[in-house]
Amino acid sequence: MNLETYQRGLQRLITHGYSTSDDSAYLQGLVGTSRLAVAKEVVCFWRAYGLERFCILTAGLLKSMGRFENDIERFISTEKFSPFIEEAGLQFLRFMATDNDLTVAALAQTEIAFHDTRTNIDEEKAVDWPCNPEPVLLAIINRNDISPEMFAISHYRLRVCRALPGGYICELAL
Protein backbone atom coordinates (compact mmCIF):
# COMPACT_ATOMS: atom_id res chain seq x y z
CA MET A 1 0.00 0.00 0.00
CA ASN A 2 1.69 3.21 -1.11
CA LEU A 3 0.84 6.68 0.16
CA GLU A 4 -1.53 7.43 -2.68
CA THR A 5 -3.65 4.30 -2.28
CA TYR A 6 -3.59 4.72 1.51
CA GLN A 7 -4.82 8.29 1.39
CA ARG A 8 -7.43 7.73 -1.33
CA GLY A 9 -8.69 4.67 0.53
CA LEU A 10 -8.96 6.57 3.81
CA GLN A 11 -10.76 9.42 2.07
CA ARG A 12 -13.30 6.96 0.69
CA LEU A 13 -13.77 5.41 4.12
CA ILE A 14 -14.11 8.73 5.95
CA THR A 15 -16.40 10.25 3.37
CA HIS A 16 -18.48 7.26 2.27
CA GLY A 17 -17.69 4.50 4.76
CA TYR A 18 -16.78 1.81 2.26
CA SER A 19 -13.67 0.28 0.77
CA THR A 20 -13.16 -1.44 -2.57
CA SER A 21 -11.86 -4.92 -3.32
CA ASP A 22 -8.65 -3.28 -4.59
CA ASP A 23 -8.00 -1.72 -1.18
CA SER A 24 -5.41 -3.18 1.17
CA ALA A 25 -6.38 -5.53 3.99
CA TYR A 26 -5.71 -2.66 6.40
CA LEU A 27 -8.26 -0.37 4.72
CA GLN A 28 -10.81 -3.15 4.27
CA GLY A 29 -10.41 -3.99 7.94
CA LEU A 30 -11.53 -0.50 8.95
CA VAL A 31 -15.02 -0.85 7.45
CA GLY A 32 -17.66 -0.81 10.15
CA THR A 33 -15.22 -0.39 13.03
CA SER A 34 -15.89 1.86 16.00
CA ARG A 35 -12.62 3.68 15.33
CA LEU A 36 -13.71 4.65 11.84
CA ALA A 37 -17.11 5.67 13.26
CA VAL A 38 -15.41 7.96 15.81
CA ALA A 39 -13.17 9.48 13.12
CA LYS A 40 -16.27 10.23 11.05
CA GLU A 41 -18.00 11.67 14.12
CA VAL A 42 -15.07 14.03 14.60
CA VAL A 43 -15.47 15.26 11.01
CA CYS A 44 -19.20 15.77 11.59
CA PHE A 45 -18.56 17.53 14.89
CA TRP A 46 -16.32 20.16 13.32
CA ARG A 47 -18.63 20.65 10.35
CA ALA A 48 -21.69 20.91 12.60
CA TYR A 49 -20.01 23.46 14.82
CA GLY A 50 -19.17 25.77 11.93
CA LEU A 51 -22.47 25.31 10.13
CA GLU A 52 -24.51 25.98 13.26
CA ARG A 53 -22.92 29.40 13.42
CA PHE A 54 -23.12 30.22 9.71
CA CYS A 55 -26.49 28.68 8.79
CA ILE A 56 -28.31 29.66 11.96
CA LEU A 57 -31.83 29.35 10.56
CA THR A 58 -31.46 26.17 8.54
CA ALA A 59 -29.38 24.46 11.20
CA GLY A 60 -31.96 25.54 13.80
CA LEU A 61 -34.84 23.99 11.85
CA LEU A 62 -32.92 20.80 11.09
CA LYS A 63 -31.97 20.41 14.75
CA SER A 64 -35.55 20.90 15.85
CA MET A 65 -36.54 18.20 13.36
CA GLY A 66 -33.85 15.90 14.77
CA ARG A 67 -32.09 15.46 11.43
CA PHE A 68 -29.16 17.91 11.55
CA GLU A 69 -26.43 15.31 12.20
CA ASN A 70 -27.80 13.06 9.49
CA ASP A 71 -27.87 15.94 7.00
CA ILE A 72 -24.30 16.89 7.91
CA GLU A 73 -23.26 13.32 7.19
CA ARG A 74 -25.05 13.40 3.82
CA PHE A 75 -23.46 16.76 3.05
CA ILE A 76 -19.99 15.43 3.86
CA SER A 77 -20.52 12.50 1.53
CA THR A 78 -20.97 14.95 -1.37
CA GLU A 79 -17.24 15.76 -0.94
CA LYS A 80 -18.08 19.37 -1.77
CA PHE A 81 -17.17 21.18 1.38
CA SER A 82 -14.58 23.82 1.98
CA PRO A 83 -12.45 24.21 5.13
CA PHE A 84 -13.62 27.84 5.17
CA ILE A 85 -16.97 28.30 6.80
CA GLU A 86 -18.10 31.17 4.55
CA GLU A 87 -17.76 28.81 1.62
CA ALA A 88 -18.83 25.59 3.37
CA GLY A 89 -21.89 27.37 4.82
CA LEU A 90 -23.15 28.36 1.39
CA GLN A 91 -22.31 24.91 0.04
CA PHE A 92 -24.44 23.38 2.82
CA LEU A 93 -27.30 25.80 2.19
CA ARG A 94 -27.26 25.03 -1.54
CA PHE A 95 -27.30 21.34 -0.65
CA MET A 96 -30.32 21.79 1.63
CA ALA A 97 -32.03 24.13 -0.86
CA THR A 98 -32.94 21.09 -2.95
CA ASP A 99 -34.21 19.03 -0.02
CA ASN A 100 -37.35 16.93 -0.45
CA ASP A 101 -38.93 18.71 2.51
CA LEU A 102 -40.15 21.87 0.84
CA THR A 103 -40.06 23.92 4.05
CA VAL A 104 -36.43 22.98 4.65
CA ALA A 105 -35.62 23.81 1.02
CA ALA A 106 -37.41 27.16 1.23
CA LEU A 107 -35.65 28.07 4.46
CA ALA A 108 -32.23 27.21 2.99
CA GLN A 109 -33.04 29.31 -0.09
CA THR A 110 -34.13 32.13 2.21
CA GLU A 111 -30.90 31.95 4.16
CA ILE A 112 -28.92 32.03 0.91
CA ALA A 113 -30.93 35.12 -0.02
CA PHE A 114 -30.03 36.76 3.31
CA HIS A 115 -26.35 36.13 2.61
CA ASP A 116 -26.60 37.24 -1.03
CA THR A 117 -28.29 40.53 -0.17
CA ARG A 118 -26.12 41.31 2.86
CA THR A 119 -23.69 43.53 1.01
CA ASN A 120 -26.04 45.00 -1.60
CA ILE A 121 -28.80 47.14 -0.15
CA ASP A 122 -30.73 47.30 -3.42
CA GLU A 123 -30.68 43.61 -4.30
CA GLU A 124 -33.91 41.72 -3.74
CA LYS A 125 -34.50 37.97 -3.77
CA ALA A 126 -37.80 36.12 -3.58
CA VAL A 127 -38.40 32.62 -2.22
CA ASP A 128 -41.66 30.69 -2.46
CA TRP A 129 -42.70 28.88 0.71
CA PRO A 130 -45.13 25.99 1.16
CA CYS A 131 -46.28 27.43 4.51
CA ASN A 132 -46.29 30.72 6.37
CA PRO A 133 -42.58 31.46 6.98
CA GLU A 134 -43.17 33.97 9.76
CA PRO A 135 -43.92 31.60 12.67
CA VAL A 136 -41.18 29.21 11.53
CA LEU A 137 -38.58 31.97 11.43
CA LEU A 138 -39.69 33.42 14.76
CA ALA A 139 -39.63 30.02 16.46
CA ILE A 140 -36.08 29.38 15.24
CA ILE A 141 -34.82 32.84 16.18
CA ASN A 142 -36.45 32.66 19.63
CA ARG A 143 -35.40 29.02 20.04
CA ASN A 144 -38.98 27.97 20.63
CA ASP A 145 -40.41 24.60 19.72
CA ILE A 146 -41.58 24.23 16.16
CA SER A 147 -45.02 22.68 16.03
CA PRO A 148 -46.46 20.74 13.08
CA GLU A 149 -49.20 23.37 12.73
CA MET A 150 -46.56 25.81 11.56
CA PHE A 151 -46.15 23.73 8.43
CA ALA A 152 -49.82 23.96 7.44
CA ILE A 153 -49.90 24.14 3.68
CA SER A 154 -50.34 27.61 2.26
CA HIS A 155 -48.43 29.50 -0.36
CA TYR A 156 -46.31 32.42 0.64
CA ARG A 157 -43.65 34.45 -1.05
CA LEU A 158 -40.86 35.78 1.11
CA ARG A 159 -39.00 38.77 -0.29
CA VAL A 160 -35.53 39.44 1.09
CA CYS A 161 -33.95 42.86 0.73
CA ARG A 162 -31.82 44.89 3.08
CA ALA A 163 -33.88 47.97 2.28
CA LEU A 164 -37.02 46.34 3.73
CA PRO A 165 -37.80 46.88 7.42
CA GLY A 166 -36.37 43.83 9.21
CA GLY A 167 -34.73 42.72 5.99
CA TYR A 168 -37.65 40.71 4.63
CA ILE A 169 -41.39 40.65 4.06
CA CYS A 170 -43.81 37.71 3.85
CA GLU A 171 -46.71 37.88 1.44
CA LEU A 172 -49.52 35.46 0.87
CA ALA A 173 -49.05 34.22 -2.67
CA LEU A 174 -52.05 34.27 -4.97
Binding site: L3, Q7, L10, I14, R35, V42, W46, S82
Partner: protein, 279 residues
Protein backbone atom coordinates in the same frame (compact mmCIF):
# COMPACT_ATOMS: atom_id res chain seq x y z
CA UNK B 1 17.42 28.94 28.97
CA UNK B 2 13.99 28.86 30.55
CA UNK B 3 11.15 28.02 28.20
CA UNK B 4 8.51 30.64 27.58
CA UNK B 5 4.88 30.05 28.49
CA UNK B 6 2.10 30.64 26.02
CA UNK B 7 -1.26 29.79 24.64
CA UNK B 8 -3.18 29.59 21.39
CA UNK B 9 -5.03 32.55 19.89
CA UNK B 10 -7.86 32.18 17.43
CA UNK B 11 -10.47 34.83 18.11
CA UNK B 12 -10.56 38.39 19.34
CA UNK B 13 -11.88 38.43 22.85
CA UNK B 14 -11.54 41.32 25.33
CA UNK B 15 -11.07 38.90 28.25
CA UNK B 16 -8.20 37.27 26.38
CA UNK B 17 -6.46 40.63 26.17
CA UNK B 18 -6.99 41.54 29.80
CA UNK B 19 -6.65 38.14 31.54
CA UNK B 20 -4.65 35.80 29.35
CA UNK B 21 -2.24 37.88 27.31
CA UNK B 22 -0.45 39.36 30.35
CA UNK B 23 0.41 35.81 31.47
CA UNK B 24 1.90 34.74 28.14
CA UNK B 25 5.42 35.11 26.79
CA UNK B 26 4.42 33.48 23.54
CA UNK B 27 1.20 33.52 21.54
CA UNK B 28 0.53 30.76 19.06
CA UNK B 29 -1.38 32.02 16.04
CA UNK B 30 -3.30 29.58 13.87
CA UNK B 31 -3.51 31.30 10.48
CA UNK B 32 -6.19 29.00 9.10
CA UNK B 33 -8.63 29.98 11.83
CA UNK B 34 -8.07 33.70 11.27
CA UNK B 35 -8.57 33.43 7.53
CA UNK B 36 -11.72 33.98 5.54
CA UNK B 37 -12.30 32.90 1.97
CA UNK B 38 -12.55 35.85 -0.37
CA UNK B 39 -12.43 35.00 -4.03
CA UNK B 40 -10.13 32.17 -4.98
CA UNK B 41 -7.86 32.24 -1.94
CA UNK B 42 -8.27 32.71 1.81
CA UNK B 43 -6.94 35.87 3.38
CA UNK B 44 -6.51 37.10 6.92
CA UNK B 45 -8.69 40.21 7.31
CA UNK B 46 -7.03 43.52 8.08
CA UNK B 47 -8.70 43.68 11.52
CA UNK B 48 -7.20 40.32 12.52
CA UNK B 49 -3.75 41.43 11.36
CA UNK B 50 -4.16 44.59 13.42
CA UNK B 51 -4.97 42.41 16.45
CA UNK B 52 -1.81 40.43 15.85
CA UNK B 53 0.22 43.63 15.73
CA UNK B 54 -1.21 44.63 19.08
CA UNK B 55 -0.55 41.19 20.58
CA UNK B 56 3.02 41.29 19.23
CA UNK B 57 3.69 44.31 21.42
CA UNK B 58 3.21 42.05 24.47
CA UNK B 59 4.32 38.59 23.41
CA UNK B 60 6.39 36.66 20.90
CA UNK B 61 4.31 35.47 17.98
CA UNK B 62 4.67 31.94 16.66
CA UNK B 63 2.63 30.50 13.80
CA UNK B 64 1.06 27.05 14.00
CA UNK B 65 -0.57 25.82 10.84
CA UNK B 66 -3.30 23.25 10.46
CA UNK B 67 -3.94 23.60 6.74
CA UNK B 68 -0.62 22.87 5.02
CA UNK B 69 -1.33 19.15 4.72
CA UNK B 70 2.36 18.44 4.42
CA UNK B 71 1.80 14.72 4.00
CA UNK B 72 -0.71 14.73 1.12
CA UNK B 73 0.64 12.60 -1.70
CA UNK B 74 -0.70 14.95 -4.38
CA UNK B 75 0.91 18.07 -2.96
CA UNK B 76 0.65 20.50 -0.10
CA UNK B 77 -1.76 23.37 0.32
CA UNK B 78 -0.19 26.62 -0.92
CA UNK B 79 -2.75 28.67 1.00
CA UNK B 80 -0.75 28.09 4.17
CA UNK B 81 2.14 30.04 2.69
CA UNK B 82 -0.12 32.86 1.53
CA UNK B 83 -1.43 33.24 5.07
CA UNK B 84 2.04 32.95 6.59
CA UNK B 85 3.27 35.66 4.21
CA UNK B 86 0.46 37.93 5.34
CA UNK B 87 1.41 37.46 8.99
CA UNK B 88 5.13 37.89 8.32
CA UNK B 89 4.37 41.18 6.61
CA UNK B 90 2.95 42.69 9.79
CA UNK B 91 4.59 41.00 12.79
CA UNK B 92 7.88 39.30 13.58
CA UNK B 93 7.43 35.52 13.86
CA UNK B 94 9.91 33.53 15.95
CA UNK B 95 9.17 30.18 14.28
CA UNK B 96 6.40 28.28 12.56
CA UNK B 97 5.17 24.74 12.83
CA UNK B 98 2.76 22.25 11.31
CA UNK B 99 1.21 18.90 12.04
CA UNK B 100 2.73 15.71 10.73
CA UNK B 101 -0.33 14.50 8.87
CA UNK B 102 -2.68 15.30 6.01
CA UNK B 103 -6.08 16.94 5.73
CA UNK B 104 -6.48 16.98 1.94
CA UNK B 105 -6.61 14.17 -0.57
CA UNK B 106 -6.54 15.11 -4.27
CA UNK B 107 -7.22 18.67 -3.14
CA UNK B 108 -10.41 17.68 -1.32
CA UNK B 109 -10.66 18.72 2.33
CA UNK B 110 -11.19 15.68 4.57
CA UNK B 111 -12.60 17.58 7.52
CA UNK B 112 -10.10 16.04 9.91
CA UNK B 113 -6.37 15.44 10.15
CA UNK B 114 -5.17 11.91 9.55
CA UNK B 115 -1.87 10.28 10.35
CA UNK B 116 0.68 9.22 7.79
CA UNK B 117 1.83 5.63 7.50
CA UNK B 118 5.31 5.45 8.96
CA UNK B 119 6.96 4.28 5.76
CA UNK B 120 10.11 5.32 3.94
CA UNK B 121 7.96 6.75 1.14
CA UNK B 122 6.08 9.05 3.55
CA UNK B 123 9.30 9.96 5.32
CA UNK B 124 11.04 10.93 2.08
CA UNK B 125 8.06 12.99 0.92
CA UNK B 126 7.74 15.01 4.13
CA UNK B 127 11.49 15.42 4.57
CA UNK B 128 11.79 16.84 1.04
CA UNK B 129 8.90 19.26 1.65
CA UNK B 130 10.38 20.26 4.98
CA UNK B 131 13.65 21.14 3.26
CA UNK B 132 11.74 23.24 0.73
CA UNK B 133 9.91 25.09 3.49
CA UNK B 134 13.15 25.84 5.27
CA UNK B 135 14.68 27.16 2.06
CA UNK B 136 11.65 29.34 1.46
CA UNK B 137 11.52 30.92 4.94
CA UNK B 138 14.49 31.89 7.09
CA UNK B 139 12.64 30.67 10.15
CA UNK B 140 12.88 27.58 12.32
CA UNK B 141 10.22 25.05 11.35
CA UNK B 142 8.89 22.35 13.67
CA UNK B 143 6.67 19.35 13.01
CA UNK B 144 4.17 18.06 15.57
CA UNK B 145 3.17 14.52 16.47
CA UNK B 146 -0.57 14.09 15.88
CA UNK B 147 -3.30 11.85 17.26
CA UNK B 148 -4.28 8.79 15.29
CA UNK B 149 -7.77 7.49 16.05
CA UNK B 150 -7.54 4.73 13.49
CA UNK B 151 -5.48 1.58 14.06
CA UNK B 152 -1.85 2.03 13.14
CA UNK B 153 -1.36 1.25 9.45
CA UNK B 154 1.44 -1.16 8.53
CA UNK B 155 4.63 0.66 9.55
CA UNK B 156 8.31 0.35 8.81
CA UNK B 157 9.38 2.18 11.94
CA UNK B 158 8.09 3.37 15.30
CA UNK B 159 6.55 6.81 15.76
CA UNK B 160 9.63 8.06 17.64
CA UNK B 161 12.01 6.70 14.98
CA UNK B 162 9.90 8.32 12.25
CA UNK B 163 10.12 11.71 13.99
CA UNK B 164 13.85 11.34 14.59
CA UNK B 165 14.56 10.47 10.96
CA UNK B 166 12.26 13.18 9.69
CA UNK B 167 14.11 15.82 11.68
CA UNK B 168 17.47 14.45 10.56
CA UNK B 169 16.55 14.11 6.88
CA UNK B 170 14.38 17.21 6.63
CA UNK B 171 16.47 19.50 8.77
CA UNK B 172 13.55 20.57 10.95
CA UNK B 173 13.03 20.18 14.68
CA UNK B 174 10.10 18.90 16.67
CA UNK B 175 7.03 20.09 18.47
CA UNK B 176 6.06 17.48 21.02
CA UNK B 177 2.40 17.54 21.95
CA UNK B 178 2.23 15.75 25.27
CA UNK B 179 -1.55 15.42 25.16
CA UNK B 180 -1.35 13.89 21.66
CA UNK B 181 1.27 11.52 22.98
CA UNK B 182 -1.07 10.48 25.78
CA UNK B 183 -3.92 10.03 23.28
CA UNK B 184 -1.81 7.83 21.03
CA UNK B 185 -0.41 5.81 23.94
CA UNK B 186 -4.02 5.16 24.99
CA UNK B 187 -5.49 4.67 21.50
CA UNK B 188 -2.61 2.64 20.08
CA UNK B 189 -1.71 0.91 23.34
CA UNK B 190 1.95 1.81 23.59
CA UNK B 191 4.08 2.92 26.51
CA UNK B 192 4.95 6.61 26.86
CA UNK B 193 8.29 5.85 28.56
CA UNK B 194 9.35 3.78 25.54
CA UNK B 195 8.47 6.66 23.21
CA UNK B 196 10.36 9.17 25.35
CA UNK B 197 13.39 6.89 25.53
CA UNK B 198 13.48 6.51 21.76
CA UNK B 199 12.74 10.01 20.52
CA UNK B 200 15.67 12.41 20.39
CA UNK B 201 14.45 14.87 23.01
CA UNK B 202 17.22 17.30 22.06
CA UNK B 203 15.23 17.96 18.89
CA UNK B 204 12.14 19.13 20.77
CA UNK B 205 11.84 22.93 20.63
CA UNK B 206 8.22 23.38 21.60
CA UNK B 207 5.78 21.50 23.81
CA UNK B 208 2.00 21.51 23.63
CA UNK B 209 -0.38 20.56 26.39
CA UNK B 210 -4.18 20.45 26.26
CA UNK B 211 -7.19 18.63 27.61
CA UNK B 212 -9.80 16.76 25.63
CA UNK B 213 -12.56 14.23 25.70
CA UNK B 214 -13.09 10.53 25.18
CA UNK B 215 -15.46 8.85 22.77
CA UNK B 216 -16.07 5.12 22.50
CA UNK B 217 -12.96 4.49 24.58
CA UNK B 218 -10.76 6.65 22.35
CA UNK B 219 -9.05 9.83 23.48
CA UNK B 220 -9.83 12.69 21.11
CA UNK B 221 -7.61 15.58 20.15
CA UNK B 222 -10.27 18.20 20.83
CA UNK B 223 -8.83 20.99 22.93
CA UNK B 224 -11.84 21.62 25.08
CA UNK B 225 -10.73 20.99 28.64
CA UNK B 226 -8.14 21.77 31.24
CA UNK B 227 -5.06 19.59 31.35
CA UNK B 228 -5.65 16.34 33.15
CA UNK B 229 -3.60 15.04 36.05
CA UNK B 230 -1.49 12.73 33.91
CA UNK B 231 -0.51 15.57 31.58
CA UNK B 232 0.48 17.65 34.59
CA UNK B 233 2.67 14.85 35.87
CA UNK B 234 4.21 14.18 32.51
CA UNK B 235 5.08 17.78 31.66
CA UNK B 236 7.83 18.31 34.28
CA UNK B 237 9.34 14.96 33.42
CA UNK B 238 9.45 15.76 29.71
CA UNK B 239 10.65 19.29 30.30
CA UNK B 240 13.52 18.08 32.44
CA UNK B 241 14.67 15.91 29.53
CA UNK B 242 14.22 18.45 26.71
CA UNK B 243 17.00 21.02 27.11
CA UNK B 244 16.19 23.00 23.96
CA UNK B 245 12.51 23.75 24.50
CA UNK B 246 11.70 27.38 23.81
CA UNK B 247 7.99 27.43 24.63
CA UNK B 248 5.23 25.44 26.28
CA UNK B 249 1.81 26.17 24.88
CA UNK B 250 -1.56 25.43 26.44
CA UNK B 251 -3.95 24.92 23.55
CA UNK B 252 -7.66 25.59 23.83
CA UNK B 253 -10.17 26.10 21.08
CA UNK B 254 -12.29 29.25 21.25
CA UNK B 255 -15.51 27.24 21.18
CA UNK B 256 -14.55 25.72 24.52
CA UNK B 257 -13.71 28.97 26.28
CA UNK B 258 -17.26 29.89 27.42
CA UNK B 259 -17.57 26.57 29.27
CA UNK B 260 -13.95 26.47 30.41
CA UNK B 261 -13.84 30.07 31.59
CA UNK B 262 -11.00 32.55 31.37
CA UNK B 263 -10.07 31.95 34.98
CA UNK B 264 -9.37 28.28 34.31
CA UNK B 265 -7.46 29.27 31.18
CA UNK B 266 -5.34 31.64 33.25
CA UNK B 267 -4.75 28.95 35.86
CA UNK B 268 -3.38 26.67 33.16
CA UNK B 269 -0.82 29.33 32.27
CA UNK B 270 0.07 29.79 35.94
CA UNK B 271 0.61 26.04 36.12
CA UNK B 272 2.91 26.08 33.09
CA UNK B 273 4.86 28.94 34.63
CA UNK B 274 5.27 27.04 37.87
CA UNK B 275 6.57 23.99 35.99
CA UNK B 276 9.07 26.09 34.03
CA UNK B 277 10.30 27.79 37.16
CA UNK B 278 10.74 24.59 39.09
CA UNK B 279 12.39 22.57 36.31
Amino acid sequence: MKAGVGTSFEEVDPAFTSLILPLADVIEVIPDTLAVKQGKHPIIPEAALQNLSEIAEHATIIVHGVGLSIGSFHGWNENYFRLLDQILAVVPVAWHSEHLGFINVDGQFLGTMLALPRTQEALDLVAERTRLIMERYPLPFYLENIVNLLPDPPAEMTEAAFLNRLARNGGCELLLDIYNLECNAHNQDYAIPDFLDEIDLNLVREIHVAGGTERAGLMLDIHSRRTREMTRKLLPEVLSRTPNVEAIIYEVMPQAVPALGHQAWAEELHFLRSVVQST
